[in-house]
Amino acid sequence: MFIKDYISDVYNGVTSLLKGMRKTGWYFVHPKEIITEQYPDNRATLKLADRFKGEVVMPHDENNEHTCTGCTACELACPNGTIKVVTKFETTPEGKKKKAIDALVYRLELCTMCNLCVAACPSDAIKMAPTFEHSVFDRTKLTKILNQPGSKIKEGIE
């Protein structure tokens, strides 16, 4: 009885090991199963999901116009103080004073990509862009001003 158990122990053990080896061996001879992505080489084909939260950007149209009213909703919504809205007062041709943004300062190094600012924005002025190659050699380069120089607010956005 003891001998029988002993032999069946050895047999079961060895077969279980061989099963595992068959599996790994199968993968060894099937190079098609390889899933490695050769990252810097596949930049052309690499496409991230549209919704990927990479950084906050402010879309501008062809007339260099954005839709940010400078309401600071994003600044209030941000948990980390990533966004700072600097406003100024512009005089419209009619002579009315109007609040507009001077600069929307965005500090990428503080951002956690939580999307709360985008959700809070009433005029869809900012959105998340699917970029991810953010590394720079100088930390100050991570502080960005989102509105382009000379840009102004689109007509009809209050």
Binding site: L17, G20, M21, T24, G25, F28, I34, I35
Partner: protein, 358 residues
């Protein structure tokens, strides 16, 4: 037909024609040493790359593929990096032993090269107790590992070294018994005799069940002796960080790393010699045509092919199995492998006495 035999004869003739006997001996030694060191370097580069590629393909990855075509020069780059790194010696370490240990481990590998027949009549030293020499020298490697573990003044290293000591000493036994069952068939300890006895078939096929069992035991035992997974308890990455070579860096670490691969090569070469006929081509009974065809393949290719097949097998183990626990490791040896190999030796002896083998 390309043959290393002709090459050695040519060098021998040239030396005999130009120098006196003492000088010939000195020059021969120099040539052998140079060849051995070159072999070490090349083997290290090739085997490390092979391991990484095998691992990668098993793990559905590509493996090194940046340096050179297909990552061919990856290990060269690694070696350069290791040479340039600073070799740190920990405070309060036993400096002498700490520095000596990697060389002891390397030296064992070098000594073991002596009796291995790389091709037909291509051998450093065909001594008449070849197998005995191998098994006695190979057990010396434990000294180097113990030295490294003790001298590092690190608790992980010490634990690793102690594990390794227990492991190598126990697995020497079953490796020895596995070898012994082939010695029983051949009746000689000389490597040349053992290879020549396999002219009409390898011992793995000729020796019936005992040869197969002892082959399996041999492979398990040498995997354990070279501290390879699933028996890599001396290093046991997830338990002891890096085991006995935790404190080593730079070139000293590289020597340990190299020694590991050299040891694998050597034990696989011994396995190939004993069980798979060394450089002897595959001969099947009386199939004259087939045997002639096989003879056409150079003997060195046969030897390397068999050795690398065994190396691949050991790598395959490593990337498939989990690691054993230290008490299970010793249980496996003393409760399973040793009784089986003792019984197997008895069986082999009976078969050899009655001449039942082919």
């Amino acid at each position: 037909m390309f043959s290393l035999e002709g090459l050695t004869a040519m060098i021998q003739n040239w030396l005999a024609a130009n120098f006196n006997p003492t000088m010939i001996l000195v020059l021969q030694c120099v040539i052998v040493i140079l060849l051995a060191i070159t072999l070490f370097a090349v083997l290290g580069l090739v085997l490390v790359l092979m391991e990484r590629k095998v691992a990668a393909h098993i793990q559905i990855r590509l493996g090194p593929n940046r340096v050179g075509p297909g990552g061919m020069f990856q290990t060269v780059a690694d070696t350069l990096k290791l040479i340039m790194k600073e070799g740190l010696t920990p405070d309060k370490a036993d400096k002498l032993l700490f520095n000596l240990a990697p060389f002891v481990v390397m030296m064992v590998g070098m000594l073991l090269l002596a009796p291995i027949a790389f091709a037909k009549n291509f051998q450093i030293w065909d001594l008449n107790i070849g197998v005995l020499y191998i098994s006695s020298i190979s057990s010396l490697s434990v000294i180097g590992i113990l030295m490294a573990g003790w001298a590092s003044n690190n608790k992980y290293s010490l634990l690793g070294a102690m594990r390794s000591g227990a492991q190598i000493v126990s697995y020497e036994l079953s490796a020895g018994f596995a070898v012994l069952s082939i010695i029983v068939f051949t009746g000689s300890l000389q490597i040349t005799d053992i290879i020549n006895s396999q002219e009409n078939g390898w011992w793995l096929f000729k020796g019936h069940i005992p040869a197969i069992i002892s082959f399996v035991i041999f492979i398990i035992a040498v995997t354990a002796e070279t501290n390879r997974a699933p028996f890599d308890l001396a290093e046991a990455e997830s338990e002891l960080t890096a085991g006995f070579h935790t404190e080593y860096s730079g070139m000293r670490f590289a020597l340990f790393f190299l020694a590991e691969y050299i040891n694998i090569f050597i034990v696989c070469a011994i396995g190939a010699t004993l069980f798979l006929g060394g450089w002897m081509p595959l001969h099947i009974g009386h199939w004259e045509g087939f045997n002639h065809l096989m003879d056409y393949i150079p003997s060195s290719v046969w030897f390397m092919g068999k050795t690398f097949f065994l190396i691949f097998l050991i790598m395959w183990f490593r990337w498939t199995f989990p690691r054993l626990r230290v008490d299970q490791l010793l249980n496996l040896e003393w409760k399973y492998l040793l009784p089986i190999s003792l019984f197997n030796l008895l069986l082999a002896t009976v078969i050899a006495i009655y001449g039942w083998h082919f």
